[in-house]
Symmetry: C2
C-alpha cells in the first residue's frame, strides 16, 4: 500500500476576507482550528493566527516589498508536499480565493497530485472595501451591474472600450500603479471626466483612507495623497454615495434626494 493511499492529507483553501479577523467565516475559523500547517498571504488576516490555529505550523508565503517572496509554484509545491505527508494544510488567502487570487491554480495543483481539496469562499475585498467606505457597488436607479478587474497590468484598448460602454460600476484591484492608463483610457472611450472615482486604501486596517475625485482628476489627487497599495479603486456614480463620516444630516438627505429612485 502506498503512502499516498494511507495519507489523511488534505488542503483547505480559505478566503480570509479583506483583513479584519472578525470578517473570517465560521467555516474558516473551524478549518484553521483543525489545521496542521497554515500557509498565509500578506493580505490575509494573520495577526492572531497563533490563536486561531494553535496547533499549526505557520508559514508566511506573502510577498513583502523588498523581502523574499515565495513564487507561486513553490507555494503549490509546499502545499502539496505537506498534504502528501498527511497534514491538513490550510492555505489562507486574502479576500476570496477565486477573485484574482490564483486559487484556481492551487486547486488544480491539488487535483494533479490527487490531494483532496476544499474551497471556503470568503468576503471579497472587491466588494467589502468599497462597502467600508460607504460605497455600494450596485444601487437601484444608479447601477445594476459591476465589473471587477485586475489592474496589475495595463488593460488593453478593447477592454477599456467595453468597460466604458458598459456603464456600470468598475472596481479595479491592484490598480494604483496603472491608474493613469486606466483612467485616460476610459475617458478616451467616452466616460465623462467628472465621473466619480474613489481610492480606498488599507481597507479594514488602521489608517483606512478614502480619496474621492473624478476620472479627470484622480491621478493628481492620488499623487498628492501619496495613495499606495493595497487599495481598491471604484469608478462610477455609486461613489457619490460614499459617506465620509463628516457629512451632515442635511448633506445625507440632499444626497438621498439626488439619488431618489423612480418607481419602487
Amino acid at each position: 500500500m502506498s503512502a499516498r493511499v494511507e495519507s489523511r492529507g488534505r488542503v483547505t483553501l480559505i478566503g480570509g476576507g479583506p483583513g479584519a479577523e472578525d470578517l473570517l467565516t465560521l467555516r474558516a475559523v473551524r478549518a484553521l482550528a483543525a489545521a496542521d500547517v497554515v500557509l498565509y498571504d500578506r493580505l490575509a488576516p494573520h495577526a492572531t493566527l497563533h490563536e486561531l490555529a494553535p496547533g499549526a505550523e505557520l508559514i508566511d508565503v506573502g510577498k513583502r516589498p523588498g523581502h523574499h517572496a515565495f513564487p507561486q509554484e513553490e507555494i503549490e509545491a509546499l502545499m502539496v508536499a505537506r498534504a502528501e505527508l498527511g497534514a491538513h494544510v490550510v492555505r489562507l488567502k486574502g479576500g476570496d480565493p477565486y477573485v484574482l487570487g490564483r486559487g484556481g491554480e492551487e486547486v488544480l495543483a491539488c487535483h494533479r497530485a490527487g490531494i483532496p481539496v476544499e474551497v471556503v469562499p470568503g468576503v471579497t475585498s472587491a466588494i467589502a472595501v468599497p462597502s467600508a467606505a460607504g460605497i455600494p457597488l450596485t444601487h437601484r436607479g444608479v447601477s445594476h451591474l459591476f465589473t471587477v478587474v485586475s489592474g496589475h497590468a495595463p488593460l488593453d484598448d478593447d477592454t477599456l472600450r467595453h468597460l466604458a460602454g458598459l456603464g456600470g460600476t468598475i472596481v479595479v484591484l491592484m490598480g494604483v500603479n496603472t491608474l493613469p492608463s486606466i483612467t485616460a483610457g476610459l475617458v478616451r472611450h467616452g466616460l465623462a471626466a467628472d465621473l466619480p472615482v474613489a481610492i480606498v486604501e488599507r481597507g479594514f486596517q488602521p489608517g483606512q483612507r478614502t480619496t474621492i475625485s473624478d476620472l479627470g482628476g484622480v491621478v493628481v489627487a492620488a499623487g498628492r495623497a501619496r495613495a499606495a497599495s493595497p487599495a481598491v479603486v471604484v469608478i462610477g456614480e455609486v461613489v457619490r454615495l460614499a459617506h465620509d463620516g463628516d457629512l451632515t444630516a442635511q448633506g445625507l438627505m440632499d444626497r438621498a434626494a439626488r439619488l431618489a429612485v423612480p418607481g419602487s
Copy 2:
C-alpha cells in the same frame, strides 16, 4: 429631551452569505447575538436564527412565492421604527448587502431618519455559488475580470454588446427567467454559441445542482432540467474548470493541461 436623542436604537445591515450558516462571518454572528429584532430575507441563513439571536424578535420579511411579502418601503419603515424605539435592529440579508440587495436604499433610509447604521459585508452568492460548483470567476490565462449583473429584467442591447465584447466571465443573478434573451443577445453580439454556461441552483442548500451547457444550448438544457430560482448563471471559459465530483483524476489532469498557463 426628545425620545430620539435618548434612544440607543441602531441598525446593523448584515450580509448573511450564500445560505450556509457557517458562512456567516464572526462579526455577523456577534451582531445577531446582540440583536433585539432581526428582519430576515428568504435567501438569508435563517434555520437556526433562534439560536444565533436568542434574545431577538424574528421577523420574516422575505418574499415567498404565493405568500405575502413585505414591500421594500415597509421593510425600511419597520427597521427605522424599531430602531427609533431603542432597539438594536439587525437586517439580515442573503449574500452581500451591496450586491443587488437594495442595501444602499436601507442605509439611506437610516440616514434620513438619523439612525446610526453599520454595514457588515458578507460572502456574496455571485462568487461563492460558482465556487461551490468548482468554478473560479477568474483564472490566470483564462479570465482576469468578471461582471456581475442582475437578470431580474432583460438587459438592454448596449449592455449585451459590451458584456459580449468585454470577454471576461459574466455572472447573472436572478437570471433564470431572462436566460433566453440574455444568451441570444450575447450570441447576436459575437460570443460563440459554444461558450460554456453553468446554471448553479440552490447553492449551499440541499439539492445543489449544476447544469453545464453552452450559450447555444443552455435554454433547452435549463428547460429539460427544469432549472429554477434561486440560481446563479455563469458564462465564460472558466466554466470548463467546474468539477462535478465524478471527474476521474485523468480527466482533471487533461483539463489542467488544457488550461495550462503560458509563462508564470
